[in-house]
């Protein structure tokens, strides 16, 4: 039931208990210097009025709030999986979590959005923050851990072994006999996008297959960015026999375009993604992809942030987690292929 009752403040409690707000504060925070009788009075007043301290007022005055923050620029499956891991790591830790998401998902907030959010939060509200797929390097008064950091960043971060993952993915395609393999890259500024492209190039180089720059499309990890790129690749007179997309979201769009243009998958086109989001298991055919355990990324990032905040850090500050290839129905040997 909604009741428009004014919020109960500390001075209400103080008035009811016949003491000053200072005393109420001491009771609430369990500080020393209050007689047992007064404590009982204040407790009873709190109970009776249903008082609950204001997170805002407290955090404005205090340095420590026991709240950690998470900032993400969009909310897709990737972020949701990360979040589950974060919550798990924080459960029963004494830290609450505040996720701040801005409403301008689509484009207008480009460079620097997370810096804005972060300064707004870390002013006082949170003791530290996790930033998911940032756009730039971060300044902050409180500790920050990046998940999938920008290229060249030396700040604390957690990321998957993107190079190895991408290499394995492309080697899988090469092993099936593919030679003309398209690539749809991720957002250039992120280390992950860079490494996945490196893996693509390295695998081809190892197999003695020259890199054809016209087979590389420049996406940005946003699923929508892949659609026109896939169209370009598949409408060529000589389309590739396989496409490796730097994220599952983009790979799923490739599948969409392929269906639209009448390509049979995996008969005429093999597709590989990266991430292993839940949706990738339920498409028809299932998407072959590189699993990077976003859950684990979130879990480790939260663990690291906790240690940074409490000052008990002792591990290296850049964690790299292993990946594994998940083979599903979207990959097969190319038509008219000679097995290696």
């Amino acid at each position: 039931m909604i009741e428009a009752n004014a919020p109960v403040t500390m001075s209400d409690v103080a008035r009811a208990a016949g003491v000053s707000t200072a005393t109420v504060s001491r009771v609430v925070n369990g500080h020393y210097g209050v007689s047992a009788r007064t404590v009982a009075q204040v407790r009873s007043a709190i109970e009776q009025l249903g008082y609950e301290s204001s997170l805002v007022a407290t955090s404005l005055r205090r340095s420590r709030t026991n709240v950690l923050g998470l900032v993400a620029h969009s909310f897709q499956s990737y972020t949701a999986e990360v979040l589950k891991g974060v919550m798990k790591a924080l459960s029963r830790s004494g830290f609450d979590l505040i996720i701040y998401a801005n409403s301008d998902l689509y484009g207008s907030y480009s460079e620097g959005w997370e810096q804005r959010h972060l300064t707004r939060l870390s002013g006082t509200l949170t003791d530290g923050c996790i930033v998911v797929t940032p756009w730039g390097d971060i300044r902050s008064r409180t500790p920050v851990v990046a998940i999938d950091p920008v290229r060249g960043s030396t700040a604390p971060s957690v990321m998957a072994d993107n190079l190895a993952g991408a290499t394995t993915a492309v080697e899988h395609l090469l092993g099936l006999g593919h030679r003309r393999i398209g690539f749809i890259a991720g957002r250039d500024s992120l280390a992950s996008a860079w490494s996945r492209e490196e893996g693509y190039r390295a695998a081809l180089a190892n197999a003695g297959v020259p890199v054809d720059p016209t087979l590389i499309g420049r996406g940005d990890f946003n699923p929508e960015s892949a659609t026109p790129l896939a169209r370009v690749l598949l409408q060529r007179p000589d389309p590739p026999s396989a496409i490796f997309a730097a994220s599952d979201g983009m790979a799923l769009k490739v599948l969409e375009v392929a269906r639209e243009l009448g390509f049979s998958v995996p008969g005429e086109l093999s597709v590989v993604g990266f991430d292993n989001i839940p949706e990738s298991a339920s498409t028809e055919p299932g998407l072959t992809t590189v699993d990077q355990s976003m859950y684990q990324l979130g879990y480790e990032a939260a663990r690291m942030l906790k240690s940074l905040v409490t000052g008990e850090w002792d591990e290296p500050s850049q964690i790299v987690l292993p990946t594994s290839l998940v083979v599903r129905g979207s990959t097969a040997p190319p038509t008219n292929a000679t097995r290696p």
Copy 2:
């Protein structure tokens, strides 16, 4: 890069620009009464110092923050889907979103957690809140919309047509020839749990099948709660030929127990869930379930909350969304069944 620089406050800007904080505030908020020259000076100081207003301080002073809150007691697929819908509804709306999640997921926070979180947030930080699957009725200074409210609540809320959904699900099983149909109920206090059980009973009654109370297990929507209940049902000398679980999370646990006890699904046991979370599509076999578009629930709740906050509300305050049955591989006619 992390730098331990002190946060830039409004008075820093004021000092740098040679004006008072009031003037800075006016410039920041675009208020009337500042000369163009002063505006330029302040703007330049803001730029130079990298000033960003503190969400906390602002919300303490102001009544309106343009931030909406969401409170959830756990963070599973259900919540994640809801969140996507909420974000979609809020995109480009001018409202940002703060999600507050407490760290004591597992039990210790029982009754009343969302009331605590809500008073902490709605004190000043948010203009309104969405509460997902609350435990009790809510008091709040600012508007609150409940997703999947408690039974008997008259507060603004969004929910699926649980009665119709559950009825359809059980009719599906009846139509396949099942007569002994087990049920695993949800958290008793929620309207949804109640309606889904009603649907179960109604469908059986319509088909002239008596309700066997020993075939009903009392879960709480938490996946883990279903495991022992499923075990009890399936280890009976006369196990049911089908089980309808009030949530997908619980239904997936039923599948797990069935596998563990050597039941073939759907050969010896049919299973139906409710929710249609992403995971349900990717199990083997896929879970037959009632789709309630959690995305849509989130979308509508956010839309409603926006209107409540801006005061432009004109629709009924309790929205019920349709459901649809999604038939996958986990249901089939019972062995030795006679088709109706």
